[in-house]
């Protein structure tokens, strides 16, 4: 209880449970096989649930798992069984929304893979070695976007604030749909 809130892993899987991007911060799953087995268990346990409007939650192997799905992308955040569930949900929401901003509202597997660099940087900005760095989606996206090689426009042509503004606009539009 005295310890800092911590995250054991962040997973982004596709609609078949395959990895898109994952990052583990704990030694609970030392080998790639252990990790894949965990991801399989996670996916099997959650795939039938409806986590598309609100983030859902369950326990798995003495861990708390919060998750949210959109299109064919499955977002997961895992923490220890004594962790504050709401903190984990905040991390998940930050991750979920930041990816939405970075992919400009086109949140699906194909777009995620085409912008895998952004996804990886995004995870890197949320948690460092298990410790939560940032949970606010806009701040995360700003940090990632300011570094990215934007597909269309080089940085000289599109300032950071502009990039972010368009990103927000995209997000807003996707929410209105």
């Amino acid at each position: 209880m005295e310890t800092c809130p911590s995250v054991k892993n962040i997973l982004l899987l596709d609609s078949e449970g395959k990895r898109i991007a994952v990052k583990y911060y704990s030694d609970d799953w030392p080998t790639n096989n252990a990790k894949e087995a965990f991801e399989k268990a996670v996916f099997n346990k959650t795939q039938k649930t409806n986590a598309r409007t609100e983030a859902e939650i369950t326990m798995l192997e003495n861990n708390i798992l919060v998750y949210k799905f959109v299109q064919d992308l499955y977002f997961y955040v895992t923490g220890g069984e004594d962790e504050n569930e709401i903190i984990l949900a905040a991390v998940l929401q930050g991750f979920f929304d930041a990816v939405g901003i970075l992919l400009r509202g086109n949140v699906d597997k194909r777009e995620a893979l085409e912008n895998l660099d952004l996804i990886l940087l995004c995870i890197d900005e949320i948690v460092d070695g298990g410790i939560i760095l940032e949970t606010d989606a806009n701040s995360i996206a700003t940090k990632v976007a300011s570094n990215s090689v934007d597909a269309g426009a080089p940085l000289s042509e599109q300032t950071i604030s502009q990039a972010l503004a368009t990103a927000r606009e995209h997000l807003a539009r996707s929410l209105l749909k």
Binding site: V22, K35, T49, I87, D117, I132, V149
Partner: protein
Amino acid sequence: MAQPLVKKDDDRDDEEYSPFLGIEKGAVLQEARVFNDPQLDARRCSQVITKLLYLLNQGETFTKIEATEVFFSVTKLFQSRDIGLRRMVYLMIKELSPSADEVIIVTSSLMKDMNSRTDMYRANAIRVLCRITDGTLLTQIERYLKQAIVDKNPVVASAALVSGIHLLQTNPEIVKRWSNEVQEAVQSRAALVQFHALALLHQIRQNDRLAVSKLVTSLTKGTVRSPLAQCLLIRYTSQVIRESGVNTQTGDRPFYDYLEGCLRHKAEMVIFEAARAITVLSGVTTRELTPAITVLQLFLSSSKPVLRFAAVRTLNKVAMTHPMAVTNCNIDMESLISDQNRSIATLAITTLLKTGNESSVDRLMKQITNFMSDIADEFKIVVVDAIRSLCLKFPLKYRSLMNFLSNILREEGGFEYKKAIVDSIVILIRDIPDAKESGLLHLCEFIEDCEFTYLSTQILHFLGNEGPKTSDPSKYIRYIYNRVILENATVRASAVSTLAKFGAMIDSLKPRIFILLRRCLFDNDDEVRDRATLYLNTLGGDGSVVETDKDVKEFLFGSLDIPLTNMETSLKNYIQNPSEEPFDINSVPKEVKSQPLVEKKAPGKKPTGLGAPPTGPTSTADTYERILSSIPEFTSFGKLFKSSAPVELTEAETEYAVNVVKHIFDRHVVFQYNCTNTIPEQLLENVFVIVDASEAEEFSEVGSKPLKSLPYDTPGQTFVAFEKPEGVPAVGKFSNMLRFTVKEVVDTSTGEAEDDGVEDEYQLEDFEVVAADYMVKVGVSNFRNAWESMGPDFERIDEYGLGPRESLAEAVSTVINLLGMQPCEGTEVVPSNSRSHSCLLSGLYIGNMKVLVRLSFGIDASKEVAMKLAVRSEDENVSDTIHDIVASG
């Protein structure tokens, strides 16, 4: 982005499309050569790094050579001024986690970035460098890190602080020097900087109670901005509360007001953290609980599953200790039974089962029956466990609960689920006599169609023990003999044993049983035939109605009163040291690290139901016994009776860490001092403990065994042995002084030391041998049976006034600790608000005397506690001694 963008609309329907389709490690490594181009193409380089990261992320590994090659070419990319590329380079270096000699290559580039004017460079360079650095490099960059902690850019400050938290694990002495800067950062206006700074500051000071207490005192008064930091502060506050205890004068708990204030915070995570902290306060009162329960109740009807889950999970835990406090939420909880999220529904049901009263049982069971069909096995197991507890709580309701269990036993389910049900039925049969006959029949019906060999054999074994004691044992024979005809060899063999048990116990059935057993002589399996032959011969094979000899019964069906793990260890020892002597089964120690058999409070552990003996953890007792038997001086002391848990004799984080384990023999005690030297520059030699036993009159020192040498960080033991009067629970206080010769270590890597040493000594704390040291915790599975079979011959009953106590629970746990006995059947838990409580204890007193204790407590309005103590044992002196312990305690 790894391949040129294709027009999206064209192949939208091509499901398999992936920019990484057909990606192959060799080819990507080839592509990585572009990192070496004199004219860097930043975009292309970024794409290649993404591909490399993709491969690593999919679980691909690089060989040492490949990794080194990639690492070196990646370092070339520091030439590029492209921000995006640099960001990918940072990520790549972290993923490659280079070795120490490789780190040197990038150190200067990263240090340059650490001092860059670009905030993003500074923040990331710090994180990368701290991730890959070792202690020596850290001293070089320490100056920059200190500056970064107080950097005005919050991202940079957070990066440095989080890196500090990681580095504290490996280089605590360096990070501890940063406390001034960290303290400044705690006051930062940036929310997350405050959070990270608070986490680091607390970790730096965590061993200094006073400093933590001061930190909490000052921050709970001020304004902590970030919700995350607020959550941290709540955790630290509960730690301080736990360590400081209740103010005995006013009955107020320090900082409780702060926690309660947090319940009105605007962030849900803070509200929940505070509510959770209140529910786990030790000895929490109903008045303290109420506001926390109220906010959790609001969460129960939230639209967010996460909030509902968090609330119901916390309430579920509260229900274990304070069921009454949760009853207010029952209506909200009942509506959660139909929650979409099955985890929430299961938690709601199990909570209701804990808080429910006798009258609501039937209604609840109805709701659960509908629910059971559409949840997964793992949830069903939780429900079954909860139903078992409920049945033990309301034995009168056994009929409907037993029916429920037998119904679900007939439905589809996996092994674990079926095992949980069978275990529950077995426990109910054991503890509720009225439920026995119907329970056994349910089990018989189950084995008629059971696909699990393990469960069949366990049930047959149980049937053999319980069946003969019922009013009409003959009705079970048919079910058992059906197994001999229909099942596999393992089940057949155990059915034969069960039949034989019926034959041995009930003389009138003997002729019929013998006919059946003789048929088994033609079985095609060796084991089945062997068993049948053995039983036919030992039970008197002529088939007449005679009484079976008691010795034969004992030989065939008597229980092995020795834990199997101990037996295994002893047999292994016997094989290792061959001798002429035959193996003596009486030499096997009988002590088990026993757990309460019926109800375990520990989450995640399954109660041991069927005959399976508690698989004792390969006990430390074995280790101790092995250590002690290897010391010739102590071998004459006989069999080790008990070893205490280690008692710390030094504060944490001192130069030398010492704890003591008290080993009790019939006429001796041996103190085992476990010493650890925590100073790398020292080698200790000839280490021993001078014990002053002037306050322990009945003890006289008879020998000691010094420790030759104690190098850095390698624990060693020294022993001191005392003689004491036989069988007497002698008590006393011992003060200790550690003596040794210190030698300076010349080379810390090899541990080589100077020749000359200096004698020195180190004061250790005192410890006592108390009456509880002579008592081994041994649980009994059915206290009532054990109590009755012990008989009232040596019963001693007396009443005691315990004076004003903090709470009933505190009084109960004090008496349990004083006696050092095993609480049975979960009676150590005192429901809140109760004015009286009964507690059942069992143990083994020195001289292998079984002792059972019944305690009845009562508390009045002025918190005066009275206690009635009833002891039964195998010896009147022992019964008297137990009273003496309480009277003098």
